[in-house]
């Protein structure tokens, strides 16, 4: 075995080098966010000459009288609502597909899989017009309500895959004990499907946090802005002149994603691989 050691070491060195090159722009952004504005482009040094929080203070103050704190609260609110919506609507549909039998089930299931491949641009124009007529433009409703109606087919698919692995004996035993379908869903299937629910939660968090297109479309009032829109506004208003503050707020905006990733990595990996391996 000892003869293999140098090659092993080489392998580690290669993997670490590629990794460092990949992560370097991110690390550089974080470091730059602690540099004084004049230093960012003038020196090639990775470490700041002098650590300063001034970029964070300048960035946080934001523009138009709203701090980034406001944008963070808005983003968190939106994420929370989308998570609740996706968990409820997708788990209900998944329960129907995985555990119940009813007319046209396979047709509906095929339709659901079809929506997975549909580019959302095909529906966005009429959706926008409907939301405009309902007076929902510049509210969070166009971003939240669809989640309560199960538009994210990927999560339904994920949960169906998971619920199918729950043994039939369990639900049959519960049925004999007089457990109706609604109690069965709430008391038996949902708790057992917890891993799939957590995966849904994680992905909803990441996708909603990173979403730009629909937030750009529906939110125009600065006080409604999310972190993504806040960053864009900051760029438009300040341009190249305040990269330090932009980097500071960009770094802050990535922290929630990173925290989620650290704590729920296992569920994330399961979610990514679910469709490809079992399906």
């Amino acid at each position: 075995m000892t003869t293999f050691k140098p090659r092993r070491l080489l392998l580690h060195v290669i993997i670490i080098c590629i990794g460092l090159i990949m992560l370097y722009p991110l690390l550089w952004m974080i470091m730059s966010s602690f540099k004084e504005s004049t230093e960012i482009f003038q020196s090639n040094s990775f470490w700041p000459k002098k650590f300063t929080l001034s970029n964070y203070i300048e960035g946080w103050t934001g523009l138009s009288g709203f701090t980034f704190g406001r944008f963070f609260l808005n983003s968190f609110f939106l994420v929370a609502m989308c998570i609740i919506g996706n968990l409820l609507s997708c788990s209900m549909a998944a329960y129907a597909f995985a555990k119940l039998s009813f007319a046209f089930k396979s047709v509906f299931f095929a339709l659901m899989l079809g929506t997975l491949m549909l580019p959302f641009h095909v529906t966005v124009v009429p959706q926008y017009i409907v939301f405009k007529h309902l007076g929902w433009i510049n509210t969070y409703l166009p971003l939240i309500v669809p989640k309560f109606l199960g538009v994210e087919g990927f999560f339904i698919f994920l949960m169906v895959q998971f619920m199918r692995t729950i043994p039939k004996d369990l639900s049959e035993a519960a049925e004999i004990d007089g457990c109706g379908p609604i109690r069965m869903y709430w008391k038996l299937i949902l708790p057992l499907a917890l891993p799939a629910l957590i995966t849904t939660m994680i992905f909803t968090f990441i996708w909603t946090w990173n979403d730009f297109f629909s937030q750009l479309l529906y939110l125009s009032d600065v006080k409604m802005y999310t972190v993504a829109l806040g960053l864009r506004m900051f760029l438009d208003a300040m341009g190249q002149s305040s990269w330090g503050a932009l980097f500071a707020m960009s770094t802050l905006s990535l922290i929630p994603l990173f925290v989620i990733f650290i704590f729920f990595q296992r569920y994330l990996i399961e979610g990514i691989t679910a469709g490809s391996i079992k399906g």
Binding site: R8, L11, I15, I18, G19, M22, L23, P25, L26, W28, M29, F41, N44, S89, C90, M92, A93, A96, L100, F102, A103, F108, M112, T115, M117, L118, P119, F120, H121, V122, T123, V124, V125, P126, Y128, V130, P146, L149, I156, P181, F212, F213, L216, A228, L231, L235, Q240, W243, F247, S250, T251, S253, L254, F258, F261, I269, I272, T273, S276, I277
Partner: protein, 293 residues
């Protein structure tokens, strides 16, 4: 034995929210946008039937051709390069080394952040004339230009951004690699096959279902890229339309110029294109995807 009526009632109760969503947010909007695509519609006055006018106009629109070209280059380069990179790194990581979870996590980080506005902003800076790339090149005595404001290079900065996010398909490849039975490699070793032969004769054929899955997902994904092009070009698709992604052009037509009919026609052409491309990949899969018995 429960009656069929009651079973249906229970099933549709649970399916209800999704069904309303399917009809309200997918079926009806799809049909409506198909109708709009045959009309002139600015949202303020009712749609006017225009027959094929939008489609004819599209095929005489130089900006449409620009956006098709940009998107085609983006899809054709970013998808294969990203997948090749993902596969190579997955193979490196799958050699039973220590700390594989740590490496996997580190390589996944760009995929986690990649879709965000923050990273698009960072990208704009990295490829700026005084940006990170040029300062690194400067160390080696090479002087670069502004990669983003130069039309001939701007699209490649976005392709690099896509390749940079190879972590998600890599994770899928890694899971697939773990499923290849070890005895296949042992048998090959006994027969005297070297590492390259093992890779091309065992690993690659056994992975074809996963490659196929990743290919389909990444193609669909790449056609719909929007955020990076919007942020990097400030929403214009410039310079000289060199980052005018198809979806960005659609957004401009629909939501800044309010040509809703035209935008709907663009959307339907996108749908048809994605359907044809994924259909071709599906059809070709019989020739190259190897399914185990």
């Amino acid at each position: 034995m429960k009656s069929a009526w009651k079973r249906n009632w229970v099933g549709f109760f649970f399916l209800g929210p999704w069904l309303i969503g399917l009809i309200g947010f997918t079926t009806i909007p799809m049909l409506t946008s198909l109708y709009f695509s045959f009309t002139k519609y600015d949202m303020f006055t009712p749609p006017n039937w225009a027959g094929l006018a939008n489609y004819i106009e599209i095929f005489h629109d130089p900006k449409f051709y620009s956006s098709v070209k940009v998107t085609a280059i983006y899809v054709l380069l970013s998808v294969p390069l990203q997948l090749i990179f993902a596969l190579l790194v997955a193979v490196l990581l799958n050699r039973g080394i220590r700390a594989v979870r740590l490496y996997r996590a580190a390589y996944y980080v760009p995929s986690l952040f990649g879709g965000s506005v923050a990273v698009a902003l960072l990208w704009r800076q990295v490829f700026d004339s005084e940006g990170l790339l040029n300062s690194v090149l400067g160390v080696f005595g090479i002087s670069g230009h502004n990669w983003i404001s130069t039309p001939s290079t701007s699209i490649y900065t976005l392709i690099i951004l896509a390749i940079w996010q190879f972590g998600a398909p890599m994770v899928i490849f890694l899971a697939g690699l773990k499923q290849i039975p070890v005895d296949l490699y042992e048998a090959a070793r006994i027969d005297g096959a070297n590492k390259f032969q093992q890779f091309f004769k065992i690993t690659l054929p056994m992975l074809t279902p996963i490659i196929f899955f990743n290919l389909i997902m990444e193609i669909i994904h790449a056609f719909q890229a929007f955020t990076p092009a919007y942020i990097v070009s400030g929403g214009t698709g410039g310079p000289l339309d060199s980052t005018l992604f198809y979806t960005l052009y659609l957004y401009q037509k629909g939501f800044t110029e309010f040509h809703m009919g035209y935008a709907s026609a663009l959307a339907w052409l996108l749908l048809v294109t994605i359907a044809i491309v994924t259909g071709l990949v599906f059809a070709s899969s019989k020739k190259w995807v190897f399914y185990q018995e």
